[in-house]
């Protein structure tokens, strides 16, 4: 498979808590991207991490990459209601998403 596989499938957290989701992939990569999709804003690029990077931050997002384990994680800190969405990882340019992780942030 050329897509990433996200875990868990669903996550429900309280506003202000952190959310962590994981991605596993099978191919070698040059970089890996995370995307978010919700009904209000559609599909939006969040962050890209290159294969020679181990960790990257963008605002409240923190992404890690372990190429030896072919895995990545996305941490959202201090979650907000607006973070409610499905999150997908993409190990290649021709995007192919699985089911994603559905995050629900409760007020």
């Amino acid at each position: 498979s050329q897509q990433g596989e996200e875990d868990p499938q669903a996550l429900s957290i309280q506003e202000g808590e952190n959310a962590t989701m994981n991605c596993s992939y099978k191919t070698s990569i040059n970089n890996l991207q995370w995307y978010r999709q919700n009904s209000g804003r559609g599909l939006v690029h969040l962050i890209l991490i290159r294969s020679n990077e181990r960790e990257k931050h963008s605002g409240r997002l923190r992404v890690t990459l372990d190429t030896s384990k072919k895995s990545s994680s996305l941490l959202i800190t201090a979650s907000r209601a607006a973070d409610t969405a499905s999150y997908f990882c993409a190990p290649r340019r021709k995007l192919s998403f699985g089911a994603g992780t559905t995050v629900t942030v409760r007020a």
Binding site: Q33, L48, L95, A99
Partner: protein
């Protein structure tokens, strides 16, 4: 323009009819992608245009699907003799296409196609 636009936003058609879906990428973006997302499914790559190069059609599910990009800008995805399984949201994305291996793709709002 300000973002990627797609039209129509919704399309209902009868089985066997042809449909055309349009995508206007961000001005200056040379790379354009078409994807399909079926209900409850992930995102499926369909076709990729980069500048004047021959398109990468490796994701097209059948010969009923075709796409063209005129003048390196607007793209049209055509589905001939539509089937019920073609019902999905069709998403278009564009990126700068400046030669880097992977670039941020900016998505349009999609066209929701329903084949009755």
């Amino acid at each position: 323009g300000a973002g990627v636009s797609q039209s129509p936003s919704n399309k209902v058609t009868e089985k066997g009819k042809d449909v055309e879906l349009r995508c206007d990428p961000i001005s200056g973006h040379t790379a354009l992608y078409w994807y399909r997302q079926s209900l409850g499914q992930g995102l499926e790559f369909l076709i990729y245009f980069q500048g004047n190069s021959a398109p990468d059609k490796s994701g097209l599910p059948s010969d009923r699907f075709s796409a063209e990009r005129t003048g390196g800008s607007v793209s049209t995805l055509t589905i001939q003799r539509t089937q019920q399984e073609d019902s999905a949201v069709y998403l278009c994305a564009s990126s700068l296409g400046d030669g880097r291996r992977s670039e941020t793709q900016y998505f349009g709002p999609g066209t929701r196609l329903l084949v009755l």
